[in-house]
């Protein structure tokens, strides 16, 4: 091939080139709209995050009727706050108690309640977390800095495409009379996956 064209040293990662190729084929066939892809990426990279889930948890802490609804039909309860899964998945809320700590994993891939927590963190997607938390949850939680009392049982929930879990952590002591908005600031992402607990008030 004659090199009569300008040559630069731009080089695409091979995966980058393949993804561009897929997108080109699908766009040409009218199966995707590049603008729609941009909106999806923008939404999940920047707009949707754990603040949604924190609002749900804080409301459950302050509104017993909502907590009851969340326990019975979390999909409808979070839907009433505008958080609806785009893939038609159901949400189940699992409530921590002094006797039971809940932790969530997806052993198959990385199913996660996107609309409530955003996209999963790197550790949630790692083979180590996905395989180990089922076998030795206490050891994994200890690595997250969470040392549970021996009398506290650990329940592990395995997410699927159709059913995603939200952990409702215990409300921290010393927050009596707090508003839901203020309480939400104590609800961390990790506390809603079960690898942490809600923060204590400063």
């Amino acid at each position: 091939m004659p090199h009569d064209h300008p040559h630069h040293d731009n080089h695409l990662d091979p995966m980058d080139a393949r993804v561009r190729a897929l997108e080109t084929i699908l766009t040409r066939k009218g199966l995707v709209d590049p603008a729609a892809i941009d909106v999806i990426v923008e939404t999940y990279a920047h707009k949707v995050g754990p603040r949604n889930g924190a609002a749900v948890v804080a409301r459950a802490w302050t509104d017993p009727a909502f907590a009851d609804w969340l326990a019975r039909d979390a999909t409808a309860a979070v839907g009433s706050m505008g958080f609806t899964g785009r893939q038609g998945e159901h949400v189940q809320a699992v409530f921590n108690t002094p006797q039971t700590h809940n932790v969530v994993v997806c052993t198959l891939c990385s199913c996660y309640p996107w609309t409530l927590l955003g996209l999963p963190p790197v550790w949630y997607k790692s083979p180590a977390y996905r395989s180990r938390v089922v076998i030795e949850p206490r050891a994994v939680l200890a690595e997250f800095g969470l040392d549970l009392p021996p009398e506290c049982q650990v329940r592990v929930w395995d997410s699927t495409a159709e059913l995603r879990y939200l952990v409702v952590p215990l409300r921290p002591a010393g927050t009596e009379g707090w508003s839901a908005e203020r309480l939400a600031t104590l609800v961390t992402r990790d506390s809603m996956v079960g690898t942490g607990i809600a923060q204590a008030p400063q």
Partner: protein, 101 residues
């Protein structure tokens, strides 16, 4: 003990965001269910492939299986994109039309 959430970007490279958006858009459009997607993706992960490489492989596999994007066509077009990158100066968006020949 509690620790603050570590801020994290969900993607390490733009192509990861792109293939994520592409897959969600295809599922939104009804080409496959998210359940079917997770099974294909999970199978690649179970084979020990890294997270985002597994994602691309799974999507390629599904699109090849239904005849929408035959692997040869994907490879040929990926090469064209690479040619376009080589022919594009730094700081300029890479466009497929810039591939020489």
């Amino acid at each position: 003990m509690t620790r603050p959430d570590t801020p994290e970007t969900p993607f390490d490279a733009p192509w990861q965001a792109q293939v994520f958006g592409l897959t969600v858009a295809l599922s939104d459009g009804g080409l496959f269910t998210w359940d079917a997607w997770t099974r294909a993706f999970g199978a690649r992960l179970a084979a020990g492939v890294g997270y985002w490489d597994a994602w691309v492989q799974a999507l390629e596999g599904m699109l090849a299986q239904c005849g929408i994007a035959p692997p040869d066509e994907v490879t040929a077009l990926a090469n064209r994109w690479q040619d376009a990158a080589h022919a594009t100066p730094h700081g300029v968006a890479i466009r497929l039309e810039n591939a020489p020949g």
